[in-house]
Amino acid sequence: MMSNYTVLAVTLIIWFGIFAYLMVLDRKTRRLEVKK
């Protein structure tokens, strides 16, 4: 089993990735609605 730190790092990366994705989606949606 890999060390706790490795799993921690991977999980953090995944979370930051998800967060960034949601922020991008947020911006896109706002633009979609403004356009109407």
Binding site: L12, I18, F19, L22, M23, D26, L32, E33
Partner: protein, 216 residues
């Protein structure tokens, strides 16, 4: 906007705390850390079902398609989170009890939830006409929700609960969590709920916008 930053910080703390602080259940070991992620996922899956059911009832009452958008988005998130919960629970089961699946009451309930969500979308894809699709989906969501009390109270009584699956939360029925565990668990619950709310709002806005665009 601010709350998204807060969410980022809280979830980051949760992830760090989950792996740095001592494992929640020493008896089980390192694998018990999954608890911090698994339980909130299951919690969100149930909350999503509730939201979907309430929106479905509202839709049948007033016929407002916005409610159907809500129901559909909530159900989609419910599907995602119940899938995550089933998988994380299964991983935990493998590491702790050496088998991926045990038909333990909690495991069974989350699986049933997953099946209900799957069935909900199978129904939606099978009905092409939009008004009818919304109506039938709403009926099914409500009907399926009615079985939940049976699942919550009956299955634990009937299926053997030999496995200590709730040893962390329900040890004595009362609050059995140490301070170290609480400090990660409750923020995790809040963070996952926050992520759900965010994704829900986004999904709803996108779905409604799409629908209105198609209707033009």
């Amino acid at each position: 906007m601010v709350w998204k930053i807060v969410l980022l910080v809280v979830m980051t703390w949760v992830i760090v705390g989950a792996f740095i602080l001592p494992a929640p259940q020493q008896a089980i070991g390192e694998a018990s850390r999954i608890f911090y992620f698994h339980v909130p996922q299951a919690w969100v899956a149930v909350v999503a079902f509730l939201v979907s059911m309430v929106a479905s009832v509202r839709f049948l009452r007033n016929g407002n398609r916005l409610e159907d958008d809500r129901a559909r988005v909530a159900a989609g998130l419910g599907l995602l989170f119940s899938l995550l919960a089933t998988v994380s629970g299964s991983i935990f089961a493998k590491v702790t009890w050496q088998s991926y699946w045990n038909w333990d009451p909690r495991e069974t309930s989350i699986l049933i939830l997953l099946l209900i969500y799957g069935a909900y979308f199978a129904l939606r894809t099978a009905v092409t006409e939009p008004e009818r699709q919304a109506r039938l989906a709403a009926v099914y969501a409500i009907f399926a929700f009615v079985t939940v009390p049976f699942l919550m109270f009956v299955i634990p009584r009937v299926l053997p609960s030999l496995h200590p699956s709730d040893s962390i939360v329900d040890e004595s029925g009362s609050f059995a969590m140490s301070l170290e565990t609480s400090v990660v668990f409750f923020p995790s619950l809040a963070a996952f709920t926050g992520v759900f709310i965010w994704m829900y709002r986004l999904g709803r806005r996108v779905t409604t916008a799409e629908r209105l665009r198609i209707e033009e």
